[in-house]
């Protein structure tokens, strides 16, 4: 009955993707990205079970590490721009265009 997990993973991924589009706060946007990564993890683990090999679980470990690194880098960048602009809205960062 692994299909349910895949469905859940697809749901999480979609919520994450839509969240990136509709939320303005950079930190929330970023959390949505993390949600997408976790959705991937769920899919990997599920497929690993389906195929009966461990590759998927292994990949999930790596994805978690990468996600952690991304958090650190991302938060640093977001905090820097927040301190400059006194705003964490991604829409306010709008000098570079056309």
């Amino acid at each position: 009955m692994t299909t349910h997990y895949l469905v859940l993973s697809a749901l999480l991924f979609a919520i994450g993707a839509v969240g990136v589009l509709v939320r303005r706060n950079a930190i929330v946007v970023f959390m949505c990205v993390e949600l997408m990564l976790n959705a991937c993890n769920l899919a990997f683990v599920t497929f690993a079970r389906q195929h009966g090999n461990l590759d998927g679980q292994l990949i999930a470990f790596f994805v978690m590490v990468v996600a952690a690194a991304e958090v650190v880098v991302g938060l640093a960048i977001i905090v820097t721009i927040f301190r400059t602009r006194r705003s964490a809205s991604v829409d306010d960062a709008n000098l570079l265009k056309y």
Binding site: L6, S9, F13, G16, A17, V20, A26, V29, F30, V33, M36, L37, A39, C40, A43, F44, T46, F47, Q50, H51, N53, D55, G56, L58, I59, F62, V63, V66, A69, E70, V73, G74, A76, I77, I78, T80, I81, R83, T84, R85, V90, A93, N94, L95, L96, K97
Partner: protein, 517 residues
């Protein structure tokens, strides 16, 4: 819980160039930790440059002494084959000259954490602060590029993608001047990059679900045994493609490129525009040729559309740009489109090696010219930093004919005028594409080149036939590094434009055995 697990074999010799770069990056972090502030740069520069040069020497050694390996290294995770060695060489050359540019003072922020315009920042500037972390960060990014282009396994590719991208996100935000723009570029690049790598990862999950493995060769054989009619696979391939297209800046995933290129410190832009593009094309080729080579009838029409859209968007939007770095960014988008033509032109083994050789040569010529062009951009300065707006470049030919002449030459190379390396680059990609049945694409390519040539010429006309503004920008006396970069790039553009045969032969040789699976 008994019986030892057999230790994996890892061919350290073959991976040495990459390990050397990563090792130097770790050493760089140690230097940051242990060396006193005033000594850091003096230690970083030789460590960085020597490690890059050493890695390049190791590649030569590998190719000359041991020949090209025929098996993937590290239990099939990394493929050090002919194309990989060539791409590594190209990345290291580009990285080396980009590092010379990065080494130039006065490009990076004194204290990134200080709010722009605050007293803290003034203090940091007054104390001569500088983020020497730039060097290890760049080395990590370069190591990531090497790994990205040679990954034979989607997991390694994903990790490499992040190792390459994360330092670049940070580096983008470190410009000394126009810090608001720089920080904005950084946050945009980061959010969109993370977003797109989410797609890549999900695509990878779906492909894993289809094939039961993330090994590129394994995926290729699963295509034959599992049967290629699976929606799971197609969606997976599409999402993988999105992640890769984002990195090369193919339309409609190109939107980040102009903003990020404009905002980032120019030396970092040079590194991204050359090294990242080369590495990303290495990964594109591996995914689409090695893993999905048997599926080419399915992905090729989509890639056609992407290539055409990319060339057209790049060429057309470049015309009305008013900022020199944005214009170069759009030019980079158009060039990514030209390169995609080579990716599409597959066929039998001979055809493939022809296309591959063309792409390899193009990557080299384009990369070097790009670094040179951005090096020139760093030298044309206003009171507030680089003179980005094109109107400020008016009449530069009268103030500084040599510099303007060299820049004009680079632009002509981008346009693919004969006697420049760009001409042979285009020739090397377009000629096999015609024989590979992508004539339509080549026609679009030539037309977009013509449109592109127009905006390059416009800049040249602006530089040489307009009256200079009274308070026009000054041309900074270049540091030794910057002068060397401009000279090397100009020389390479000339030599590859007049006497390309040895390098073409080398690319042919690298491409002859294609990728190992």
């Amino acid at each position: 819980m008994n019986g030892a697990i057999e230790a994996p074999t890892i061919e350290y010799g073959q991976l040495m160039p990459m390990l050397l770069v990563f090792g130097a990056a770790v050493v760089g972090v140690l230097i940051e930790a242990l060396a006193p502030r005033y000594l850091r740069k003096a230690i970083h520069v030789p460590v960085t440059l020597l490690s890059l040069a050493g890695a390049f020497a190791l590649i030569i050694l590998q190719a000359v002494r041991d020949g090209v390996p025929e098996q993937a290294s590290a239990m099939g995770a990394i493929a050090v084959d002919g194309p990989a060695l060539f791409i590594w060489g190209v990345i290291l050359v580009l990285a080396f000259i980009s590092m010379l540019l990065i080494n130039d003072d006065d490009q990076f922020v004194a204290q990134a954490a200080a709010v722009p315009g605050s007293p803290e920042e003034e203090d940091a500037v007054a104390q001569g602060g500088a983020h020497t972390e730039v060097y290890p960060l760049a080395l990590f990014a370069i190591g990531g590029m090497l790994l990205f282009s040679s990954a034979n396994d989607l997991l390694i590719m994903f990790v490499a993608l992040e190792v390459m991208s994360l330092p670049l996100y940070l580096l983008c935000g470190l410009a000394r001047r126009r810090r608001l723009l720089s920080q904005e570029a950084s946050v945009k690049y980061f959010l969109l990059g993370a977003f797109s790598s989410g797609f890549f990862l999900y695509g990878m999950a779906l492909v894993y679900g289809f094939a039961g493995t993330v090994d590129l060769g394994g995926i290729s054989s699963a295509l034959a045994s599992v049967g290629g009619q699976d929606s799971l696979l197609y969606i997976g391939v599409a999402l993988l493609g999105v992640g890769l297209f984002f990195k090369i800046g193919a339309a409609p995933f190109q939107a980040w490129k102009p903003d990020v290129y404009q905002g980032a410190p120019t030396p970092i832009t040079a590194l991204m525009a050359s090294g990242t593009l080369v590495a990303a094309f290495g990964a594109v080729l591996r995914v689409f040729w090695v893993a999905l080579g048997n599926l080419d009838w399915d992905w090729r029409p989509v890639m056609w559309a992407v290539a055409i859209l990319t060339m057209v968007v790049g060429a057309i939007l470049a015309i009305t740009q008013t900022d020199i770095k944005r214009m170069l960014a759009y030019s980079s988008i158009a060039h990514a489109g030209f390169l995609l033509i080579g990716v599409i032109a597959t066929g039998d083994a001979e055809q493939n090696s022809g296309s591959l050789s063309g792409i390899l040569f193009y990557l080299l010529t384009y990369g070097i010219t790009t670094v040179g062009a951005f090096a020139v951009v760093t030298m044309v300065r206003d009171a507030g930093g680089e003179a980005g707006h094109l109107s400020r470049w008016a009449g530069l030919g009268k103030r500084s004919p040599l510099l303007a002449g060299i820049f004009a030459f680079f632009l002509l190379a981008f346009a693919g005028i004969p006697l420049t390396s760009g001409f042979f680059g285009k020739y090397a990609v377009f000629a096999p594409a015609v024989s590979g049945g992508a004539l339509g694409l080549v026609v679009v390519g030539v037309i977009s080149s013509a449109v592109a040539a127009f905006f390059y010429v416009r800049v040249i006309v602006l530089m040489f036939f307009s009256e200079p503004a009274a308070d026009g920008p000054t041309v900074a006396l270049p540091s030794v590094g910057t002068a060397a970069v401009v000279t090397i790039a100009a020389a390479a553009t000339v030599v590859l434009g007049v006497f390309p045969q040895p390098v073409l032969d080398l690319a042919d040789q690298a491409a002859s055995a294609l990728f190992i699976r």
